[in-house]
Symmetry: C2
Subunit: 348 residues, 2 copies
DNA sequence: AACGACGCTGTAAGCGTTTACATAAAATTG
DNA sequence: CAATTTTATGTAAACGCTTACAGCGTCGTT
């Protein structure tokens, strides 16, 4: 039941284990005849090299570990795509794991990756991610995506969430919204807090003294739905009008929001204008198509991996101790103006 | 620059390497005092066990390999979610790889996984996947998802694509469509061919003698757009009316189709009714919401992994040679009736 | 007081590879 | 044709870890 080992192949081909290894790895100092016999034996026995043994002796795995909050869904999937494309271009494999928002799971995942990867790409946008830093192997090159982890990383790529929040508000104001509201992400999420901060600062600047409704969601479609419902109910009770513009902290929630608004018979964008965040693929297909702050999620993944590869090369070349904390790229989200915020008559 | 090894930890804690190992793995035959010293040394040195070495000696990795055509996008992402949920429930890790439709890449991926995983979950819906079977390590438990790979697998879970095609046609007929068309997936894709076959058989049965327009897409949104355009152009040229019902072989293409139809000012569903396939999350949000054949993509992944775990357990228990080809589950897609095919006045 | 039982610890073998080094055979040279 | 280089092959060590086994105190029991 055990798989064939190199020893088996060598015996079958009647050569030494060293020659077998050389033949299989395509080194040139092997007689053609021997190579033929070895390859034949290998395929006959369905030999597959033991990656663990190999990485043990070679001290490299050609694999990078990717740790994300989740490994599915529009957003993370798109990150993975970026990472995948960049990784395959360099012949690297991916060990992907999701932490499900749980620091302990993240720690467990990191340990499980230990010794199986040459570098780590981590996204852990939680406010308490510093705990993660404490267990990260010192020797592994590390790049973070949109995470505040500490100063252990050799590179990082992050999003200007605050600036995005500001842009969203400015856009809604441009479109003539006189009252604003915000559906935020969870308080435990660093990014969500930054977006909220951006919203508040810009909203207070543009509409001094005004009250802005806030609802705390958790980045799921369902919570966006609840958020819109909450605003609708509150307005029904107090008799106040609905906010004219809502900045929703991610597109998934904005989609839920759209659903609730449609159910309630509120016209988007004319009664309520909506701006999301992320520009996940689904945003284009929502009805009306969703205005949003494009982050370039694909590029987040791609450039993250590139940064990591750089760090890995630096690391292996200069076997030195000088591990300077690498560059920190910040990308600015860009407004994508679609129908959900395109008001017919912005009462200038 | 190298990471700390167990030996380093042992030296630091002033114990033997064996005791260090025992302490770290939580065996009970270690003195409390020793355990404390070891754990302290380990965290001081940021020790992370070398997974390769571990799997080498233990002959297991607690990791399963997942090979999909791609590892992103609505469909595969949803599969991964199912696999992830089931895997984490069992404490298994995931080594994920995409083959990008290239058999050689798939082969490379399988080799790269060799010796790093305890089992393999493979989806390779290509007509020439038999080539893959030839390189799969004999000893690894293998489960396939929606793939015709040969008889090497210990289990498989697949979709009744033919039946789904039939259901789609029957539904369109029910809705009063008198003329039908089909946008198919690529000819190299086994599943696409089955759906097409289902369409043709049912269409010929329901509408004997009629011609059905066909367009060959490649499962991308863009090709769906092209397909609809092709139908529109052909009809404009010949003066014939548009087909009243289109069965599109997956939802992504159906979304593209919807876009083209909207651009052309064709009313969906009243002028043209549409049915997709898969029920990916985006289907609900299209406008109009897309009727489709739900496959339960999440469950495909989840049950696939469960099958694999079963096979792995069988494998390790009965160390026997009896590897019977495991069960083959077939799931039937179920019609989800949304607005894209809900015709006001089915002219009975 | 001698004995076995028990609990903790260390020594060393072995997991499947790669690769430096030694060796043997073949090819090149003067 | 002997001396020398080149080329092909084999031997054995090393990678970091787990674990069978042996060693050795410490007890409790006759």
């Amino acid at each position: 039941m055990k798989g064939a080992t190199l020893k088996d192949v060598a015996r079958e081909a009647d050569v030494s284990i060293a020659s077998a290894s050389r033949a299989i790895n395509g080194l040139d100092n092997v007689a053609e005849e021997v190579r033929r016999r070895v390859l034949e034996a290998a395929s006959k026995l369905r030999y597959v090299p033991h990656g663990g043994a190999r990485s043990l002796v070679m001290a490299r795995t050609n694999t990078v570990g990717v740790l994300l909050p989740d490994i599915y869904g529009e957003f993370f999937s798109e990150i993975i795509r970026g990472v995948d494309v960049a990784a395959r271009a360099r012949g690297l494999h991916l060990l992907v794991s999701g932490s499900h928002g749980d620091i302990n799971e993240a720690v467990a995942a990191v340990r499980a990756m230990g010794g199986r990867v040459d570098g780590l790409l981590v996204m852990s946008p939680f406010v308490d991610s510093q705990d993660l830093a404490a267990v990260l192997p010192l020797n592994l090159p590390l790049v973070t995506i949109a995470s505040r982890i500490g100063k252990v990383e050799q590179g990082s790529i992050s999003i200007d969430n605050f600036g995005g929040g500001v842009k969203a508000v400015e856009h809604l104001i441009d479109q003539g919204c006189k009252t604003l509201a915000h559906i935020s992400g969870p308080p435990s999420n660093f990014e969500a807090q930054e977006r909220r901060r951006g919203f508040l600062e810009a909203a207070n600047t543009a509409l001094p003294g005004a009250e802005h409704r806030l609802f705390e969601g958790d980045f799921t479609e369902e919570s966006g739905y609840r958020g819109a419902k909450a605003f609708l109910n509150a307005c029904a009770q107090t008799g106040e009008p609905m906010p004219e513009g809502i900045f929703v902290a991610n597109d998934m929630m904005a989609v839920g929001c759209l659903l609730a608004l449609r159910e309630a018979g509120k016209a988007v964008p004319d009664e309520v204008a909506l701006v999301g965040f992320d520009d996940i693929p689904i945003a284009r297909f929502a009805s009306p198509p969703l205005s949003t702050l494009r982050v370039g999620v694909f590029d987040l993944g791609r450039r993250g991996l590139e940064l990591l590869v750089d760090a890995m090369e630096r690391d292996s070349l200069s076997d030195g101790e000088d591990r300077e904390s690498g560059e920190g790229i910040v990308v600015s989200p860009e407004l994508v103006f679609r129908d959900s915020s395109r008001r017919r008559a912005p009462p200038a």
